[in-house]
């Protein structure tokens, strides 16, 4: 599979809808009451273009229109106005759905099936031959970190983290080109969260487009190439994460092995050119610390979910 690299932001305007992974034009959704009277304008004239091969973050507070956008793209609901295209074709059609993987916010799966049965069922919906499924299902279960014991358990017995993992496995059963992940790290422990993020990066490296919808901004920041922030159904901002987060007015200098005297000298030097100069020791993230401790204690460096 070829690896695609994301083009620069300036070239976005030149991408045609057919070349884009997702393209929306004035996409609007108004929820109505029983009598057809407008009740809530959940999405308002959303124009959005997501390139193929990028990890795109869809951010916003509750009720901002993120889930509505995802539902419209998947054909679960129909737009009041506007158009939405996936891979250049109107969204919601079975033809397009064959190229999509979707991990819903909660793991909405048949709770009476076990992990393997679930994947076989969804595989059959894609008409994947049984012999291929026999190879693919164990591979996927390994990929999402569900061990042999967990595979035979009913989904109703799964912990939230395990349910997210099997949900992710069903989203990947068809080796999709576009993956929509709605709150993918919800319910996962830090190890699972890290693995999920690694997987997203891995998918991106395989040339797949990932749309990430999350409240956990740190996760989004870690993996997304570009993001948009929605508020009250409208797009508030759109761009590369680095561009949006970069403060051009502040300069950061990092160095290793400096003595306290050298640090003091450096502070004095910097203060001559800029106001409010700060020189501190960097800290690692709590997530990194947690992962380090768990991996050190398990001694293996790997971690799977079976009975959490």
């Amino acid at each position: 599979m070829s690896v695609q690299t994301a083009p620069p932001a300036s070239s976005l305007e030149t991408i045609s809808p057919a070349d884009a992974a997702v393209h929306t034009e004035k996409l609007t959704k108004v929820y109505t009451d029983f009598w057809g009277r407008p009740k809530v304008r959940a999405l308002d004239d959303l124009d959005l273009t997501i390139r193929r091969g990028e990890v795109f973050g869809l951010l916003g507070p509750n009720g901002s229109g993120k889930s509505t956008t995802i539902k419209l793209l998947l054909g679960l609901i129909f737009p009041t106005r506007g158009k939405a295209f996936i891979m250049g074709k109107p969204c919601g059609s079975p033809e397009i759905n064959s190229k999509i993987g979707f991990l819903p916010e909660e793991s909405y799966l048949y709770r009476f099936l076990n992990g393997e049965e679930t994947l076989y069922f969804y595989g059959r919906l894609f008409k994947i031959p049984h012999r291929d499924l026999k190879k693919r299902v164990p591979l996927l279960l390994d990929t999402v970190g569900l061990d042999a014991k967990a595979r035979k358990r009913k989904l109703r017995e799964y912990s939230k983290g395990m349910a997210r993992r099997i949900g992710l496995a069903q989203a990947l059963i068809n080796d999709p080109d576009l993956i929509l992940l709605d709150e993918p790290t919800t319910g996962l422990d830090p190890i699972g969260t890290r693995e999920m993020k690694d997987l997203i990066v891995s998918l991106k490296n395989q040339g797949k487009t990932v749309i990430l919808c999350s409240h956990l901004l740190a996760d989004v920041q870690d993996v997304c190439d570009r993001i948009t922030i929605l508020f009250r159904g409208r797009r508030q901002t759109l761009g590369h994460v680095k561009d949006l987060l970069q403060d051009q007015d502040i300069t950061q200098v990092q160095a290793k092995g400096l003595t306290p005297q050298q640090i003091e000298e450096l502070r004095e030097y910097v203060q001559r050119f800029g106001k409010g100069a700060q020189i501190t020791h960097p800290t690692t993230t709590l997530e990194d610390l947690f992962i380090q401790i768990v991996r050190d204690q398990s001694g293996t460096g790997s971690y799977t979910s079976s009975d959490t």
Binding site: K71, L74, G75, L76, I77, F78, P94, E95, N97, S98, I100, F102, P104, E106, Y108, L109, Y110, F112, L113, F121, Y122, R124, L125, F126, K127, Q170, N174
Partner: protein
């Protein structure tokens, strides 16, 4: 008889229009819904996906322990059948079959209804549907997959209940057959019981007989001679003369606003009579003339459409009262005519087809031939028959029907009285005759016996049976049968009189103190026998088709309603037509209501009549599009030991195709336009 009358009679013998299934509308719905609107989905159709969705639907039901209801039903059947008090072995088996089928039907239907009505709303509510519709699955595949899943659940339940039914019935029949064998060894057993027990000893209690019903049951005071000589006994028999009229036949003719001398419509009666010995009343000839009561019956609803009073009469008419204005031959010693009022004419035209019912007085026999009642249009007001002008009219649509007095269980056939021995005649036409055994062909009879308090009433009921070959007109010697009340009796008749396939079975009640009730199903020809299990399988298959119909309707309702309302609407759709048919609502019910509750208040009666008729029309219109579940009811037939014919399997299949397929197409269209996110 005038030439005009003769012409009218020659137009008779109109045939009933054949019942046609309305294929066009359902086919159009399926064509437009699936093959036009859903053309792309049809192109993408994959049975593998449908089967996968059906499989999950089936496993959902199984893992929800739906099948656990079947052992409960079995326990219920065993308890109820053990608590019953059957009069004999066949009755025990009959009741057990009824309980088994009842339990199976209830369990399968209720589960199909609940499962199908709740499945989609539940999947939308818990959002499992998100992971289905976001896969390359069309809504057509989802619709069909769900229905196949429900049908698999029903099939599983039917297999379990069917196996239980076969096993339990064999156990019960084995037990009863042993007691029959012991009874047969008893030396004190009478001849009547012995024959009956021997039949079951030989044939077993679990029977499936192919039976042939008679095409018609009539009853006469005397045995007719060919097509004439149909005599009706006043007081215990009546006659029904069928008519079919079209708009303009009567109402225009009877319009009083028309120019003076314009034609009117009349019923003309030509009913000879004779008094029974000792039945004449003293006095002159006019005073002894017997009366005939007349009313008009709606042929569709069997309700009284027009009473005698509405015919502007006193309710009765003396047949020879007007004899002096019409010429009458010596043979026609009764003759009368009644003008049809305008309003009545309109009512009759609206009804289309109806019967003129004639009821005579006791002590008299009336001859009711095909020309007994006719409708004439013209001017018969002038008492001088020479001036009577008949310019048209309507002949009877068919032969008159003469029948015994009706009870809840059928036509009553009396024993011989005062020289009259009524005869019931079962007519068989184009009947395939089974291979005879010792020159005899088997029949079965099940009647209700009403013993009065006469001296002979305690005697065993004795019926004399004869066969009349309609081709050779030969009549067989009498075969005597001793039937028991409400119990099936088996007897045989000589095959040589049946071979033509066109024959009549003549039944006479030999006990003068007793009355028996006969209906068209009381006397049956046993044409063939089949294994009981095979017959049961066909019955269960029909039940499965019914559960499929219920599931389709419930799933359709669940595509636009919440599940509790979907359940209620599904019940209304499935049972709607059956309920209306059983309520016996039809044309004429408004008049009946009005007559019953507002006999004197004309204005109120008119309002009630029109309102009820409008409501009836509305209900009839609604029920016209609902499925008729009548052909799905086969329990009684299996219970009685009758085989289910292929035609009987075909009828429910047709209903499923005509109603189930378009409803499936509509469910698909609704689902395709449905936003599945809650």
């Amino acid at each position: 008889m005038s030439p005009a009358m003769i012409n009218l009679l020659s137009q008779a013998e109109a045939s009933e229009p054949a019942v046609q299934y309305p294929w066009i509308i359902p086919a159009a719905i399926v064509l437009l819904g699936v093959f036009v609107y859903g053309f792309r989905d049809v192109l993408r159709f994959s049975f593998g996906r449908v089967w996968a969705i059906g499989g999950v639907c089936f496993r959902d039901a199984i893992r929800r322990k739906v099948l656990w209801i079947t052992p409960l039903a079995m326990v219920g059947v065993v308890i109820v059948s053990q608590l019953q008090k059957p009069i004999d072995g066949p009755d025990a088996i009959r009741q057990t079959i009824k309980f088994c089928f009842f339990a199976t039907a209830i369990v399968v239907t209720v589960i199909a209804l609940i499962t199908a009505a709740t499945n989609l709303p539940r999947e939308i509510e818990n959002r499992v549907i998100f992971t289905i519709v976001t896969k390359p699955v069309t809504r057509l595949e989802i619709t069909l997959g769900k229905i196949i899943g429900f049908s698999r659940v029903s099939a599983a339940m039917l297999i379990i209940m069917g196996l239980f039914t076969v096993g339990y019935l064999h156990l019960r029949s084995w037990s009863w057959e042993r007691s029959i064998a012991l009874e047969l060894e008893s030396p004190s057993l009478n001849a009547s019981d012995r024959g009956w027990l021997e039949h079951f000893h030989e044939q077993g209690l679990l029977q499936a007989r192919t039976i042939t019903r008679a095409g018609r049951l009539m009853q006469y005071a005397k045995l007719p001679e060919g097509n004439t000589g149909r005599w009706m006994q006043g007081g215990s028999q009546d006659s029904m003369i069928p008519f079919r009229v079209e708009p303009g036949n009567l109402a225009q003719a009877a319009n009083p606003a028309a120019a003076a001398g314009a034609e009117k419509a009349y019923f003309i009666f030509n009913i000879p009579y004779e008094a029974l010995p000792g039945g004449e009343r003293p006095g002159d000839a006019a005073a002894t003339a017997p009366e005939v009561q007349i009313q008009i019956i709606d042929s569709r609803s069997d309700r009284v459409l027009v009473s005698g009073e509405q015919l502007a009469m006193k309710g009765t008419q003396k047949p020879d009262e007007l004899q002096n204005i019409r010429p009458a031959s010596a043979a026609l010693n009764g003759f009368a005519r009644i003008e049809i009022p305008r309003a009545v004419g309109q009512q009759l035209e609206q009804a289309g087809s109806f019967y003129v019912q004639l009821m005579g007085q006791p002590n008299y026999l009336y001859r009711v031939e095909k020309d007994a009642v006719q409708i004439a249009v013209g001017n018969l007001d002038d008492p001088d028959p020479a001036k009577a002008q008949i310019i048209g009219g309507v002949p009877p649509a068919n032969e008159p029907i003469i029948r015994g007095g009706l009870s809840n269980t059928g036509q009553q056939l009396r024993g011989p009285e005062r020289g009259v021995e009524p005869v019931a005649i079962y007519s068989f036409k184009n009947t395939p005759i089974p291979q005879s055994i010792n020159g005899q062909v088997p029949f079965e009879l099940k009647i209700v016996i009403d013993r009065t308090d006469d001296s002979e009433s305690d005697d065993p009921t004795l019926l004399a049976m004869q066969v009349k070959d309609l081709k050779s007109q030969k009549i067989s010697p009498q075969t005597l049968v001793y039937p028991e009340n409400r119990r099936t009796t088996f007897f045989s008749l000589p095959a040589e009189y049946l071979q033509s396939g066109e024959f009549e079975i003549l039944v006479r009640n030999r006990n003068s103190g007793q009355t028996i009730s006969l209906n068209e199903s009381a006397l049956l020809l046993i044409a063939d026998r089949q294994p009981f299990a095979w017959n049961l399988f066909k019955g269960l298959f029909i039940l499965w088709l019914f559960s499929l119909l219920v599931a389709i309707v419930a799933f359709f309702c669940s595509t636009f309603l919440s599940w509790p309302i979907a359940v209620v609407l599904s019940i209304l759709i499935v049972l709607g037509k059956w309920t209306v048919l059983n309520l016996d609502i039809g044309t004429g019910i408004g008049a009946q209501f009005a007559q019953e509750y507002f006999p004197t208040n004309t204005a109120a009666a008119t309002v009630v009549n029109q309102s009820v008729e409008a409501l009836t029309r509305g209900l009839t219109l609604v029920t016209a599009v609902l499925p008729d579940i009548g052909p799905f009811g086969v329990t009684e037939q299996i219970e009685r030991g009758g085989t289910i014919s292929i035609q009987q399997v075909r009828e429910p299949l047709k209903i499923l195709l005509v109603f189930g397929l378009p409803v499936t197409a509509l469910a698909y269209v609704l689902l395709r336009n449905k936003e599945v996110a809650p």
